[in-house]
């Protein structure tokens, strides 16, 4: 009974259709011809626990939101922060990442605290939580579509920094050892750690419940921690 009604919420039977951007390492990216990354593997494991097969659909940020509303995907796994505003439109799983924001700055930057970013040019993803925070602290926010564009702008000296996820920066720095950037933690009383969770259509409550159960199992059997260490070199799935 219950199992069937959760399945009736699926876009494609027996398949968990996952929307993501696919252009943000180490969350999701393409290498050796395959889509990989933390959220890709998480999606696969979640689907497995739910008795489904995962199917990934990469698209633009805007389209993720519209696509979930239009029932093009069952779930979006895209490093999405849970916010009260988003909660009005969508429903979320329990968080799978607790992400602490960091400042990414040129090595010679004199900025030492997030309070000093006032008036500085900060590229941020359009509509992201980072963008909202940067604006709150008075930065001159310019839109940037991808993390690599953001990094390019700072490296080239055309922007003074960005608020972003520390993990994404570390992953990038590992692949680009000869960079001229540094990262600096922002204390959680300035910017609270964000809860990253899977996002569902409001009409899929049963699916969300089922996904929560799967996440709980993955957390219990250590899969979450393992994936986190694999991709982020640290466990960031705990509060």
């Amino acid at each position: 009974g219950k199992k069937q009604s959760a399945d009736s919420e699926l876009v494609t039977p027996k398949t968990l259709t996952v929307g993501l951007e696919g252009t943000y390492a180490p969350y999701a990216y393409r290498q050796n011809g395959k889509l990989q990354g933390f959220e890709v593997e998480l999606g696969q494991q979640m689907a497995k626990k739910m008795g489904l097969k995962a199917k990934f659909i990469p698209t633009k940020w805007d389209s993720l939101i519209a696509g979930l509303g239009a029932k093009k995907f069952d779930v979006v796994l895209n490093n999405i922060t849970v916010t009260p505003e988003r909660k009005k439109q969508f429903i979320f799983s329990t968080p799978y990442i607790y992400s602490k924001s960091a400042l990414i700055l040129p090595k010679n930057s004199k900025i030492t605290s997030v309070d000093q970013i006032k008036g500085k040019t900060f590229p941020e993803g359009t509509g992201t939580e980072n963008s909202i925070q940067a604006k709150k602290f008075g930065a001159n926010v310019i839109p940037s579509e991808t993390f690599q564009n953001t990094v390019a702008l700072i490296s080239q000296g055309r922007a003074q920094g960005t608020i972003n996820s520390r993990e994404a920066f570390l992953s990038w720095a590992k692949d680009n050892p000869k960079n001229n950037l540094k990262t600096m933690n922002i204390s959680t009383d300035k910017i609270a750690a964000s809860e990253i969770a899977a996002m569902f259509n409001k009409n899929s409550p049963k699916l969300r419940t089922k996904a929560n159960k799967a996440l709980k199992e993955l957390r219990a059997d250590g899969t979450l921690a393992r994936l986190s260490k694999k991709y982020f070199t640290a466990d960031i799935t705990q509060k």
Partner: protein, 231 residues
């Protein structure tokens, strides 16, 4: 660098063959059909009673609205509305279908203007010559007017097609894994955006240049009955 290129090239080409090319070709064919119909509706002034004229007036208004709508909004927005918006009123379709429909409608709107101009450029003389020989409208269109109009429309239609090939890159926003999206996904890990963009640009340039060469030969054939200017 060569490593990066040889790693990513096969993926890009695969995406091109699987999505970019079929999307462009199928959309162009449907777009052309739509364009001819629209152009004829806009041009024809049927004689007849009031009812025929009223119906034609409505068709005419639809044709004008359609062309106006698709020519005065960005393609990106059209794609988005058809794929994500129509489900709100109960019309749901797979991404590829939505892309084909959008690109066809868009191409149809632009190409209808080219075809209309081409048809208008055939002098009335040709219609009169056919009429005096006893051809009916359909025979005149298919035997006399279209074959000449194709020659006129060919350069602009070829350009439309080349433009369409490049515009397929926008399909990424409605979940289609075309060449451009794949390049961005690869960039996400290899962090060589410039190289990847250049690679994609080169692939597009190759395809477009091949199409231009094809266009050249088609035009040569279409112009076979035109006297070359004396050197």
């Amino acid at each position: 660098m060569w490593q990066t290129i040889s790693d990513s090239l096969p993926q890009l080409i695969a995406a091109g063959i699987k999505f970019t090319i079929p999307l462009a070709i199928i959309s162009f064919i449907f777009g052309l059909i739509l364009a001819v119909i629209t152009a004829l509706i806009k041009l024809a002034r049927p004689k007849g009673n009031v009812l025929v004229k009223a119906i034609w007036g409505i068709l005419d208004a639809i044709a004008y609205f359609y062309v106006w709508l698709f020519r005065s909004t960005p393609l990106l927005v059209q794609l988005f509305i058809i794929f994500f918006g129509l489900p709100n009123i109960g019309i749901q379709m797979p991404a590829f279908t939505a892309a084909v429909i959008t690109f066809s409608l868009n191409t149809g709107a632009y190409a209808s203007e080219n075809i209309r101009a081409a048809l208008l450029s055939i002098p009335d003389d040709q219609w009169e010559a056919a009429a005096t020989l006893g051809f009916n409208t359909r025979q005149t269109l298919f035997k006399i007017i279209f074959p000449q109009a194709i020659r006129i429309a060919l350069p602009t239609l070829s350009n439309e097609f080349i433009g369409l090939v490049k515009d397929t890159s926008l399909a990424s926003s409605i979940t289609i894994l075309e060449m451009f999206t794949v390049s961005q996904e690869i960039t996400a890990k290899n962090y060589q955006p410039l190289l990847m963009y250049c690679l994609v640009a080169a692939l597009y340039a190759v395809v477009c240049s091949l199409l231009s060469i094809l266009q050249h030969y088609l035009e040569k054939h279409a112009n076979r009955y035109i006297k070359r200017g004396e050197s």
